[in-house]
Structures are given as C-alpha cells and as structure tokens.
Assembly symmetry: C2
Homo-oligomer: 181 residues x 2
DNA sequence: TTGACGGTTGAACAGTTGTTCAATACAACG
DNA sequence: CGTTGTATTGAACAACTGTTCAACCGTCAA
C-alpha cells in the first residue's frame, strides 16, 4: 500500500508542473512503478486525479484550520505557507484554472474559513467580502510569477514579500480611496 | 486568407473551453477546414497557439487602451468588459495558469496601464501597488465561477456585480483596516 | 490556352496514450 | 506444505495525435 502514496505524490508533482495531460507512464516512472499498477490502484487516470484532488484538499484544509481564528494576519498567513510546498501552489493554480468540482470544493473551504475570521467586524455582507478577500489572496498565488516579472521584483524573496505586504496594507488602509468617485 | 481568421477564432474558443490539449482536428472542424490546412498556415500546433496568443493580447491591449486615464473606475471597468467576450476570460485563465511567456506579456500590459491610472496618487511604490491591484482584478476573473458558487451568488448577474462592487468599495475604503494589527 | 501558384484536401504514417490481459512474485493463512 | 489473494509487471491493443505528402482546385498572368 506504500506505493499508492508514492503514486499520489508523484502525480501531484507532475500534474502541477506539466499539467493534467501528463502521461501515466511519466508518473509511474517518478513513482518507481509501472503504469498498469496505477490503473490497478485507482481504476483509471481520472480516478488517480480524483485521489490527488482529495489529497490536496486535505492538505489545504489542514493548513487553513490553523487560521480559523486570528485577525487579518490570517489572510496573509493563509497565503505564505502555501508557497513553502513547492508543488502545492502550482497544483492549485491548475485546479482553479480548470474550474471543475475540485475548484468549487477548494473555494468553499477558503471562503468559509475567511468568513469566520471576519465575523466580528460587523460587515454588511461578510460572506461576499470573504469571497472577495479570498480572490485577492488566491489571485496573488496564481499570478505571483508573471506579476513579479512585470514589477521587477522576486515576490518570493524576503524583500519582495515585505514590499508586497507594505503595498497591500496601504491598499487595505484606504490609500486608493481617493480614486473612488 | 479568410480561413486563417476563422481558424484563430475557433482555436481560441476550443483552447478556452477544453484546454490546450484540444486536438487540431476539433479546431479544424469548428473552423470548417481540414487539419492539414492549419499546419499549412501556422507551421505547427504551437505556431497556431502563438498566433492565438498574439490575437488575444491585441484584444486585451485594445480594451486596456480605453482606460489608461480615468479614476478607480478603471480597475472595475477593466474587468467587466472582459466578461462580455465569452471565451476571452476563459482563455486568459488558461494562459495565466500556464505561466509561460504569453502570461508575462499579458501582465506587463495590465500592470503598466494600471500604473498610469495610479500615477497622480503619490504612492510610495506605484508599480508594486499596480501589480497588487492587477492581481486583485485578474483574481476576480479567474475565480469568479467557484467563488460565486461558494458565496451563493451569480457574480455575472446585475445583482451579483452590484454586491461584489459594494464589498470591493468597502474594502478599498478601509473596512478591513481594524484587522491590521 | 498554357503555366504557375497559393489554398485546400484525403490518405497515410509514426509516435503516444490509456487501458487490458495473462503471467509472475510474494506474502499470509489453513 | 499447499493455497489463496494481492501487488506487480511486460507485452499488446485500439484509439488518437500532430504531421507529411501527393494530388486537386481555383485564379490570374503571360
């Protein structure tokens, strides 16, 4: 049964890096097994992908659970640890781009957790605001690389994170308010 | 030469809906031509994709040019017209998820345009702030469907857009500031 | 009319893909 | 020991893929 875990891990990495069109044989090689064994364990390639989705959702939920309480740091801290796992943000990016059911399960977790962190603010529409805030955080995950290029900063470096955070704080404090007619 | 345009249009739709792994034959059928003709015109499937990327970038640039000046409405108005084209936002979503060179060209346009709209605010880091704002806007494009599901609102309906905008204005005015330690 | 040429096609090819199948290794259990 | 079952594999298959090739069609110049 150990090989099943190795397969899921290898599949997550390959899907994240090369997309879901990655051949089963490549995943099998990474996991040190044969392609038919994957079908034997997961029924089909789609079955494997479902298993990887479950695994990723569990990973995210575990990380989210640490930030159910707490202040605004939740929104930032919610994003940063995701970067530490090399393959996780890339897999999320691909999942969200497809927009399938896994994408919906994922967002449900994020929005609900964020809504709890916003509960004591007395907002008019806490869930809508939570959705907006999640789209901000995940948008940063999805676009960190090309935006870093455009801005000319490595957003993964300490300096990049600090400046990114400073600008974010400015925005959430109202720096852009003069633009609102 | 008319068929080349039909091919690009069909390819954009297919790529947007089914991903870049869509077979050439499917695109050919949509365009009402044969698969070899696509290779004849664009050299290869990759050549076709490059042509579609160019086409999409031109579309986006044209839309962006209308909002180079103007206030905060730029950020909102920047997003909304993209929705009207059925395939465009989906194509952007797939492009951004891949993170290739097309993704970089795209973000460069967005960030530069947004930076101009922010110029007169006297921000400490206008380009970084512009990057952040772009990630907010595009994050909304990328995640509108699953977030709408999570929030329980159709973000494409008039009601959904109005409530989304109201929450966004609240955030940019500082509703979340109490959370900043 | 003849010739040339770009647009277009059906047929075919070689490579890749997910999946099936029969067979092997191997552990657990009686 | 034998046997039962699970994990695992190489070989093979049918379907699909991007691409090539020779041929056809139309137009337009000479």
């Amino acid at each position: 049964m150990r090989s099943a875990e190795a397969i899921v891990t290898a599949a997550m990495g390959r899907f994240a890096r090369d997309g879901f069109a990655t051949p089963l044989r490549a995943i099998a090689e990474d996991a040190g097994v044969s392609a038919p064994l994957i079908v034997h364990h997961f029924g089909s390639k789609q079955g494997l992908r479902d298993a990887v989705d479950d695994h990723v959702l569990a990973l995210v939920d575990e990380k989210l659970r640490r930030f159910e309480t707490g202040g605004f740091a939740a929104a930032a801290a919610l994003v940063l640890p995701l970067y530490e796992q090399g393959d996780l943000p890339r897999y999320l990016r691909r999942t969200l781009a497809e927009g399938g059911p896994a994408s919906r399960r994922l967002l449900e977790s994020f929005v609900t957790t964020t809504e709890k962190a916003l509960a004591h603010l007395g907002l008019a529409e806490p869930r809508m605001t939570a959705g907006l805030l999640v789209s901000h955080s995940l948008g940063a995950i999805l676009l960190a690389d090309p935006i870093g290029d455009a801005v000319g900063v490595d957003l993964f470096s300490a300096d990049g994170i600090a400046r990114w955070a400073a600008s974010a704080i400015g925005i959430y404090r109202g720096d852009l308010a003069p633009l609102l007619s």
